[in-house]
C-alpha cells in the first residue's frame, strides 16, 4: 500500500512538472492580456530542442536552457503578431501550434538522419530526491525529479511577483484595463511583450523537462496535448499561480492513474486508460469555463485611443 502510494506520488509530481511550468507561463501571459493558446507548439519545440542539445552537448542543463530559449523565440513570433500587428490571438496561437511541432519534426529529421525519434540523451536531469539505495524498502521507488522542484519554485516566484511587487500590480492591471496602465505612463506594448516571451520560455522549459526528465528522447508523441491541458489548468486555476498549480497536480495524478492502472491488475484496455487525462480535462472545462472570470482585457489587442 505504502509502496503504491509513493509510486503514485512520484509519478504525479513527475508528470505535473511540465504542465505546471507551461501553465504558469499561461497565467503570466493571460494576466497581461494576451491569450497564449500556442503553448502546445512552444512546448513541442522546447522538447525537441532539449533533446537535441542534451544529446549533442551531454549536458541536460544546457539542453533545458536552450529549450527555454526556443520556446521564447516562438513566443516572440506570437507577440509580434498579436501585440504589434494586433492579429487575432487565437489565430496566431493556432499558427504557433502548427509551426511548433512541424518545425520540431523537421529538425529531428535533419539532425538524426531522417528519424522522427531522436537518440536518447546520455544524461537526464538529476533527481532531487533519490532513495534507490534503500533497496528492499517501499522508499526505493520514491524519487523526485529536479524539474518538480523547479516547477514549484516557479510557482512561488510567480505568485510573489504577481501579488507583492509593482511589476505584478502592473501585469494584473494590463489584463483588466490596459488603457489605465497606458495613461499612467507605463508602456502596454513593452510589458506585454515581456510577459508573452516569459510565457514562451516557461512553456519551452516545460517541454524540455518532458524529454530531459520524463522520457529521455524526443518523439512525435512526446508532446501530445500537454499544452492544452496546461491551458485548461489556467482556467481551472482561475488564472492564479497556486490555482493553476493545484490543477496541474490533479492532471498529473490522472496521468499517474494511467500508469498505475495500466500494470495489468485491472482489466481495462490501455487505450481507454490513456484517455483519462483528456476526458478529465474536457469535464473540468465544461464545468468551469462558464463560471470562472478571465482577465477582462485578455484576448483583446490594445490600440491606443480606441473607443
Amino acid at each position: 500500500m505504502l509502496n503504491s502510494l509513493l509510486i503514485a506520488l512520484s509519478i504525479t509530481l513527475m508528470y505535473s512538472a511540465p504542465l505546471t511550468l507551461a501553465a504558469i507561463g499561461g497565467v503570466i501571459s493571460e494576466r497581461s492580456g494576451v491569450v497564449n493558446i500556442g503553448i502546445e507548439g512552444m512546448m513541442s519545440l522546447g522538447a525537441l530542442t532539449g533533446a537535441v542539445v542534451g544529446y549533442f552537448s551531454h549536458s541536460a542543463w544546457l539542453g533545458l536552457m536552450c529549450a527555454g530559449l526556443a520556446g521564447g523565440a516562438l513566443a516572440l513570433l506570437h507577440a509580434i503578431a498579436s501585440i504589434s500587428f494586433r492579429a487575432d490571438q487565437t489565430v496566431s496561437g493556432i499558427a504557433i501550434n502548427l509551426i511548433g511541432p512541424g518545425f520540431a519534426m523537421f529538425l529531428s529529421r535533419y539532425f538524426f538522419e531522417g528519424a522522427s525519434v531522436t537518440y536518447p540523451v546520455p544524461e537526464k536531469l538529476p533527481k532531487f530526491i533519490n532513495f534507490s539505495y534503500l533497496k528492499g524498502t517501499p522508499f526505493a521507488n520514491f524519487n523526485i525529479d529536479v524539474s518538480v522542484v523547479l516547477a514549484f519554485m516557479v510557482v512561488v516566484v510567480t505568485w510573489f511577483v504577481l501579488y507583492k511587487t509593482k511589476w505584478g500590480l502592473r501585469i494584473r492591471a494590463l489584463g483588466e484595463h490596459p488603457a489605465a496602465v497606458d495613461t499612467l505612463g507605463v508602456s502596454v506594448y513593452r510589458s506585454r511583450y515581456a510577459c508573452v516571451i516569459i510565457s514562451g520560455i516557461l512553456a519551452g522549459i516545460g517541454g524540455g523537462t518532458v524529454t530531459l526528465a520524463v522520457i529521455s528522447q524526443f518523439n512525435p508523441m512526446a508532446i501530445s496535448g500537454q499544452g492544452f491541458i496546461a491551458l485548461a489548468a489556467v482556467i481551472f486555476g482561475k488564472w492564479k499561480p497556486w490555482g493553476a498549480y493545484a490543477a496541474c497536480l490533479l492532471f498529473g495524478f490522472s496521468q499517474a492513474l494511467v500508469v498505475m492502472l495500466g500494470d495489468g491488475t485491472v482489466r481495462i484496455p490501455s487505450t481507454i486508460l490513456s484517455m483519462i487525462p483528456y476526458v478529465l480535462t474536457i469535464f473540468i472545462l465544461i464545468i468551469f469555463v462558464g463560471r470562472s472570470s478571465a482577465p477582462r482585457a485578455s484576448g483583446v489587442p490594445y490600440e491606443k485611443g480606441a473607443r
Partner: protein, 511 residues
C-alpha cells in the same frame, strides 16, 4: 494670445494638429492663469478633447508650443506630462474594476522597498494625507466595482493628486454624475483651487460652466472662437459662440389639450435579476398628444420598467395596456406591433449595430417586411431609398453616409438616424430614454423639437431621463420615480425643480 509669463500655469500657442488629411486643430491658443478654474467649451468633435490629449502627451501637436509656468515644455507621452505636474481625469474612467481604490491610485507610480516589492502601508499614508487635506471621503480598501460613479471619479482625482499634479484636466466630468454628485465635484474643485491648483474642465454643458469656471476658451470645428470671462457671458451667448448660430436653449411649446389615454400601466410589479422587486405596484396613464416625463436617479427601477414594457422581463403582477390591449408578458415583436417605438438609452448597445452600414441600421426593424424584402430576398434599392429619406428629413451628416459604417458617424447623427427610423414606424407611443445623452447643444435642440413635433401630431411620448432639466423643459406631465414607485406627479406648470429634486432623492413632499 498672451505673452509667455510665469503667471500662467499652462500656455498652448499656435497648436495645429492633423489626423491624416484632416486638420482637427487649427492654430489654437490657450492661456490659463495659475489657480483658476478654466473651461474649454465646444461641441462634440470640436477638438477640445484632442487639445487636452496633446497637453497630456497622448498625441503630439504638428505645430505649436506648450509652456508651463513660463517655461517651454516638451511632453511626448503621459509620463512626461505626469512628471511635469499635469494630471488628467478621462471621461471614461481608467480604473481597474477588480483592484482596490489604493491599488488603482498607486498603479504605475508604486511605493516600493527593494527589488520592486510593494510597500502599500507607506503609499496608504500618503494617500490619506491627500484625502484629509481636500476633504474627500473615499474608502481605500473598497474595490472599484463596488463604488458609485461619483466615487470612482474621486479616485481618478486622487490618482492625479498622488502624482503631485498642479494642473488637473477634467474631461466631461459631469456627464455621468447625478445632480448631487455634480455639486460635490464642484466643492472638490473649489478646495483644490483654494490650494493653488489649476483646473481645466472640458465640457459642453453651459450651466455647469456658469456654476464652476472663471474663464473659458471656446472652440468650434478646430478653431479658436473666443476666450472670455465667464461672468461677462450668459448661457445663451456661450451657446451661440459654441454652435456659431442662433440657438434655442428652451423648446417653444404651445399649450395643447391632450386626448384620451392610449397607454396605461396598472399596478405593475417587476423583479430584477437578483430577485428583488424593483418596480413596485406602479401605475401611470399617458394620453395622446402628451409628453410624459419620468424623472429619477439611475437605478430606481427605470431599467426594469422599460424591459418589462419591451417584453424582455416578466411582470409579476399588473397590466400594461396599449390602445386597449394588454401587452404585458408577451414578446418584443408583439410590443412593437402594437405601435410602440423605442429610443434606447445606450444607442451603441441597443440602438444600432455599429459595424453595419447606416442603411442596414435604418431597416433593422423592418428588413423582413415588404418592400424591404420580398420572398426572403432583400431589396437594396428600397432600403437605400428609405435611408435617403431619413437622412434628408433629419439632416444627418455627411449626407452621403448611407453605405458607411454607422460607427463613423458622430453621436448626434447616430441618434438622428435612430430617431428617424423609430418615427418612420409611425408609432402611437414613443418611449425615449435619455434621448440626448452625449449629444451637444445643436443636436439636443433638434431632438427636443422632434419630440415636441411628435406630440403636436397627437402622438404620446414617454420621456425617461436622468437629466432633470430635460424633463422639466419638455414634459407636459412629470412623474418622479423613486424606489420603483411613482412618488409624485405634476403638471408642467405646477412643478418646481427643488421639489422634484427632493423627491428624486427620496425625500417626502411635505418636508
Amino acid at each position: 494670445m498672451h505673452d509667455i509669463s510665469r503667471e500662467y500655469a499652462v500656455q498652448m500657442h499656435g497648436i495645429t494638429k492633423y489626423f491624416g488629411p484632416h486638420k482637427v486643430l487649427d492654430n489654437i491658443d490657450l492661456d490659463i492663469k495659475k489657480g483658476k478654474i478654466h473651461a474649454v467649451l465646444g461641441e462634440n468633435g470640436a477638438g477640445k478633447s484632442t487639445l487636452m490629449s496633446i497637453l497630456y502627451g497622448m498625441y503630439s501637436a504638428d505645430y505649436g508650443k506648450i509652456y508651463l509656468s513660463g517655461q517651454e515644455a516638451h511632453i511626448g507621452n503621459p509620463s512626461d506630462a505626469i512628471s511635469q505636474g499635469i494630471g488628467m481625469v478621462h471621461q471614461h474612467f481608467m480604473l481597474v474594476d477588480k483592484f482596490t481604490v489604493l491599488q488603482n491610485i498607486v498603479l504605475g507610480n508604486e511605493t516600493t522597498n527593494f527589488f520592486g516589492v510593494l510597500n502599500m502601508r507607506k503609499a496608504k499614508k500618503k494617500v490619506l494625507d491627500i484625502i484629509e487635506k481636500y476633504g474627500m471621503k473615499v474608502d481605500l480598501k473598497e474595490k472599484i466595482k463596488n463604488l458609485s460613479v461619483g466615487m470612482q471619479q474621486k479616485v481618478e482625482i486622487l490618482k492625479a493628486l498622488y502624482r503631485g499634479s498642479e494642473v488637473l484636466i477634467l474631461d466631461e466630468p459631469t456627464a455621468v454624475l447625478t445632480p448631487m454628485e455634480v455639486d460635490e465635484l464642484f466643492e472638490t474643485m473649489n478646495s483644490l483651487k483654494q490650494d493653488g491648483k489649476t483646473i481645466i474642465i472640458i465640457t459642453h454643458k453651459l450651466k455647469e460652466i456658469k456654476k464652476s469656471a472663471e474663464t473659458c476658451t471656446i472652440i468650434r470645428k478646430g478653431r479658436l472662437i473666443d476666450a472670455v470671462n465667464v461672468d461677462d457671458e450668459t448661457e445663451q451667448s456661450l451657446a451661440e459662440k459654441m454652435v456659431g448660430r442662433q440657438i434655442k436653449l428652451f423648446v417653444d411649446k404651445q399649450d395643447r389639450v391632450p386626448g384620451k389615454t392610449i397607454f396605461e400601466i396598472k399596478n405593475l410589479s417587476v423583479r430584477c435579476e437578483r430577485g428583488i422587486e424593483t418596480v413596485k405596484n406602479l401605475s401611470m396613464k399617458i394620453r395622446s398628444g402628451e409628453i410624459y416625463g419620468l424623472a429619477g436617479i439611475e437605478g430606481n427601477g427605470q431599467t426594469e420598467l422599460l424591459q418589462c414594457i419591451l417584453g424582455r422581463r416578466h411582470a409579476d403582477a399588473g397590466k400594461i395596456i396599449m390602445n386597449g390591449k394588454e401587452i404585458q408578458n408577451t414578446d418584443i415583436k408583439n410590443v412593437l406591433d402594437s405601435k410602440i417605438s423605442f429610443i434606447h438609452a445606450d444607442r451603441h448597445k441597443y440602438g444600432c449595430v455599429l459595424d453595419m452600414t447606416v442603411a442596414d441600421n435604418a431597416i433593422m426593424e423592418k428588413y423582413r417586411e415588404k418592400p424591404f424584402s420580398v420572398n426572403g430576398f432583400l431589396n437594396h434599392e428600397e432600403r437605400d431609398k428609405f435611408t435617403k429619406q431619413i437622412i434628408e428629413t433629419y439632416d444627418i451628416r455627411p449626407t452621403n453616409c448611407s453605405h458607411q459604417k454607422i460607427r463613423n458617424l458622430s453621436g448626434g447623427n447616430q441618434q438622428k438616424l435612430v430617431i428617424g427610423r423609430e418615427i418612420a414606424n409611425n408609432p402611437d407611443l414613443l418611449i425615449a430614454v435619455q434621448p440626448t445623452r452625449g449629444l451637444d447643444v445643436g443636436a439636443i435642440e433638434y431632438v427636443h423639437s422632434t419630440l415636441v413635433n411628435l406630440r403636436d401630431q397627437g402622438k404620446a411620448v414617454l420621456l425617461i431621463s436622468l437629466e432633470l432639466d430635460e424633463i422639466l423643459n419638455l414634459s407636459d406631465k412629470i412623474a418622479v420615480i423613486y424606489g420603483g414607485e411613482i412618488v409624485g406627479e405634476f403638471r408642467q406648470n405646477e412643478s418646481d425643480e427643488q421639489k422634484i429634486g427632493l423627491l428624486m432623492a427620496g425625500g417626502k413632499e411635505n418636508d
